[in-house]
Point group: C2
Chain length 202, copies 2
Amino acid sequence: MKNKGILFVMSGPSGTGKGTICAKLLENKENDVFLSVSSTTREIRKDEIDGVTYNYTTVDKFKNMIDNGEMLEYAVYSGNYYGTPKKAVENILDEGRNVLLEIEPQGALKVKAIFPEAVLMFIVPPSMKELKKRLAERGRETDEQIKERLEAARWEFEQARKYNYIFVNDSLDECVSEIEETMRGKVQAKSLVDKLLTEQYL
Amino acid sequence: MKNKGILFVMSGPSGTGKGTICAKLLENKENDVFLSVSSTTREIRKDEIDGVTYNYTTVDKFKNMIDNGEMLEYAVYSGNYYGTPKKAVENILDEGRNVLLEIEPQGALKVKAIFPEAVLMFIVPPSMKELKKRLAERGRETDEQIKERLEAARWEFEQARKYNYIFVNDSLDECVSEIEETMRGKVQAKSLVDKLLTEQYL
């Protein structure tokens, strides 16, 4: 029987750079961590492959999966559903490969309830001032929306205490290195426990 | 309002050295971590101080606390009850001080359910062979009991995956340093989050 992989969940308030950090972590092949294939109800485009870029499905089937608790998280953009099926994550873990999920703070603790062994990582900015600056620079939101994001961040910081690891995104490269080191430590600890469980000792 | 302290819970199979490790962690004042005062039903001895060495109580009161879910964990030795009241831990945390609890694996995950922000640390031996050797050298158990301890360790290693941190007790000093570093990292991350939560940013 193959040993299971580790599920890493990356979260943090909007504007802390978790998307960029995840991209860097996936890019470095040494990290040996993978994305799961998301499901969507939007139409397949040219050059996309069913089961690779996305699992394409119907709105009815997608809603059924939500109702049956088969979606770890989902969102609707431009009338199309996008989500992470629990099964897709399990399949990769069963192959002994590690999974990285980027999830909004509201969803991350739910994932932990479904996968109690998941490693939750939370990214914080060095200061609220810096977070405000980053949100403004990104230019995606209005002043009112930025205010809302900052208000939301307060609640999210409260949640951070329930995470396994908190990383400060002050310098991006340093933050990524620190996360990589933590992930490697987790992989090593898991290998050791797997070894202890299979060892002959009597 | 004072910021709360962090609850560190140390656990691991019998014979992994968690008792020695906890003693070393408490000894080093720089770690800024404290024991909570346990409750007991045994009689107070000369030189002992009620509320300091133990909180002395009656069997009825102790049993009541168990029934009301007020005991984080408890055990009976020579007909006397010994336990960790939830309230005693909360009082120290409320003062902004960090608490260290040494708890058997069966109880540690229950503590996490009561204190979701607790940091669970698990100690493993470098190998099953080494664990067997340590149990034998300790000389507290019969061969049959050692076999039982090793069987129990298997289940406990399975639980280890749900812990926040796993440390290998290969060299005691290295293991203690690694734990101290982790604890300091947790304290720093918590301070930062506390700071973010009180910062003026609008």
